[in-house]
């Protein structure tokens, strides 16, 4: 067991964990931040994406101990200070970018990382970037649309095509 300390969504937390505890398990079980999901065991689905020191990371492929001292952001910390949805979250709702919601936290976290590096991505760039995020429900169409809208680009209104 080792002590890890990290800042999660702006709050410092310290816990004793086993060396082999994955960051995804640490967030879900030790901190009960269950918005981070686990959809696979081969690091491919992206349901578990969080931010570690500002970078999108698949939390199922990182040990909690490796995040010692890091700034970690999860879906629970994304809303605006007043609790309203942030621009990306709001765009996902406005453009029906989610159905069952299981892939959604990872999608939102990936989208945020994309837009940080590339504030006005093209459709092709978005589709390419989402290589590591699988959604089985939406066919991605409205996810791509939501990300474009979140970046301030014009997209057709929902249900009006």
């Amino acid at each position: 067991m080792t002590n890890v300390t990290m800042t999660v969504n702006g709050k410092s937390v310290t816990r004793e964990v086993k060396g082999n505890t994955l960051l995804s398990d640490f967030l879900r079980e030790d901190l009960r931040l269950t918005g981070t999901h686990v959809g696979c065991d081969t690091s491919q689905c992206g349901a578990c994406v969080v931010h570690v020191n500002g970078e999108a990371v698949k939390s199922c492929t990182m040990f909690a101990a490796e995040a010692d001292g890091a700034e970690v952001g999860t879906i629970e910390g994304q809303a605006n200070a007043d609790g309203s949805l942030n621009v990306i979250q709001q765009a996902f709702q406005d453009h029906h970018g989610l159905q069952c919601g299981f892939c959604t936290p990872g999608m939102v976290m990936s989208a945020a990382a994309l837009l940080k590096d590339n504030p006005k991505p093209s459709e092709a760039e978005i589709r390419d970037y989402l290589e590591g995020n699988i959604c089985r429900c939406t066919g991605y169409h409205n996810i791509v649309k939501a990300i474009m809208a979140a970046s301030g680009q014009d997209v057709p209104a929902v249900a009006a095509e």
């Binding site: 696979c40 994304q78 949805l85 919601g101 989402l130 429900c137 939406t138 249900a159």
Partner: protein, 791 residues
Amino acid sequence: MPKDHGIGASPKRREDVRFLTGAGNYTDDINVHGQAYVHFLRSDLAHGKINSIDTSAAEGMPGVVKIFTGADFEGVGGLPCGWQVTDKNGEPMKEPAHPVLAQGKVRHVGDPYAAVVADTLEEARNAAEAIVADIEELDPVVDMAAALEAGATKVHDDLSDNLCYDWQFGTDTETTDAAFAKAAHVTKLELVNQRLVANPMEPRVAVGDYSRAGDEHTLYTTSQNPHVIRLLMGAFVLGIPEHKLRVVAPDVGGGFGTKIFHYAEEAFCTFAAKACNRPVKWTSTRSEAFMSDCHGRDHVTTIELALDADNNFLAVRTDTKANMGAYLSTFASSVPTWLHGTLMAGNYKTPAVQVNVKAVFTNTVPVDAYRGAGRPEATFQLERVIDKAARELGVDPIALRRQNFITQFPYATPVAVEYDTGDYEATMAKMEELMDIPGFAARRAESEKNGKLRGLGVNCFIEACGIAPSNLVGQLGARAGLYDAATVRVNATGSISVMVGAHSHGQGHETVFPQVVAEMLGIDESMIDIVHGDTSKIPFGMGTYGSRSLAVCGSAMVRATEKIINKAKKIAGHLLEASESDIELKDGQFTVAGTDKSVAWGDVTLAAYVPHNYPLEDIEPGLEETAFYDPANFTYPAGAYACEVEVDPDTGAVSIEKFVSADDFGNVVNPMIVEGQVHGGIAQGIGQALLENCAYDENGQLLSASYMDYAMPRADDLPHMANYVVDHSCQTPCTHNPLGVKGCGEAGAIGSPPTVVNAVIDALHSGGHTHVSHIDMPVSPSRVWAAINGQ
């Protein structure tokens, strides 16, 4: 101007806020105080005889609570099949036992034969390593044709062979043969509808809990139909009466059919929670999901189409082998029969249609319903053979379809169903308009300039949704009724909880259902909440699958709301001292017709619960009504789809350049949700057409057991926004349900695979590769390249 509320509007989904902020409550998010964890030992052989399982070394290991093997389940029932198919000789299908944990033999890779319950998952896994199982390898049967050969190894020793049933349906043989005999042209095609894995992104989870105080069981599970699980597991597997068993399916991360079925892990956790006197939790890994979630499709078919000299369809005859896997899953037997054979007429007035299906046991994961369930298989055969016929005859595939369309409704098909309504010409014309068919030649020329072959594929389909009339399916062998139920509970201040049997695992019921009730009552949608997914809260409904939620459960909700309105009018009449027949309800106000005397919705609801001035001699206080709704018929959504692909002749790579769907779903309550359902269905259909394949090797080893090997569609596999239109403007309302709705959940997955394959074949022919008449799905680069090169 689109409506901004009620039926036909697209309000933002209310469930989104919790999903977007990490506040969803999925089954794996539930931890019950004191819970232990189970790890299943699963067979790594396709077929084996269990000689012994020695658990002694594991028993005393740290954290171990209890170890279970098949012997622990000898006193309980096996997992039941919910549909008995009768074969062509009048014999019932063969129904092998399906124990919770394997007894005597393991029959597929992933078959669970032991389970360790421990304080932590890690301890359960460690102890599992110390269990010594002596399992003797037996020859597996993997291929369906081999499984049916005389003398083949038997999957189940107590059955005479591996044939589950040999089923024949539709037009009799003499009439069918006569139609073929007089045909001017017969087109024949052999094809495979490959095995798929549904892959909802949320893996299955089960948490069993038991309270000794009340002898009560609770199961939290990832299910599309908690009441079905309560009935099947309670009555048939564990012998727990329904009132002692609560099944909760909270937020569920996608289903697509594979979360309909009752699974061994659910029964295990429920059983073990009592045996261990501790809650027991199981969370599937994705690797486990690949070898334990029921698979889909896996049909091998020969289809023949007979045409007369004027290209009118005379007859269709099919011969299909359908893989059941090693055991019969909950609805497995119905998929290749009643959900497939009944659709073989398609959109066409073919007078003779005969369907033959042999269902086969093999040493593979059980196969059951996956999005579309039988209907994609039917559509794929029919629309591929029509396309091939058009090519052989040198006629336009659109014209050939059009010429043979059913145009009069109702229409009784030769395969037992009656289409109540439809307009196939309308969806075809809409598709042609949106696709810009006249512009195709120029687009093809442009592709050719870039060294690519461009193909246009079209497809028409019909599906039977809104499952299903209970008396009809009962005659066909269903062991369940397929009605649904809703309770509308109006509270004293006028807010409403609607408890529904349907389950939402992405479909947006929490948003859509209130639109209907709000429209009927003329009150704000925000006053209405939907309650679903907990058998202790909802009436006995059958859940969500077969695009049935709105058509069946929504109809129950309409009926219950009508009862509410009738009673509320009585109360309003009393309050207004007028006859109830003079009371009108509009915009949440009850008015005496022709006067300005009115009371508000909230006045009436308050009077119902505070009945000081109330007709107590005539009606009871309170305002709560339940309705069960059993549909009179299936619903028959239909559509015309088209796509354009580019094929790179050097690599065989296929890309979707343009895609149009023109669907007729009848009335649409929420266009945004409908379009989302179609997008998702089409993505799964394109996935089947181009990418996905659940593969076994000849030893029954599952080759595609992770996302490394099973190609899920990614964002860049699908058409871009500018070249992708999903349309539902053609609407012929269903004639027999109160909303006139047909269901939209499966259309995309049914309509798209043949569209894509037809387009690929068209592309290859344009490049002179006219020897290629078919490529099996997935139409991968290597298969296309091999086809082009005659290999």
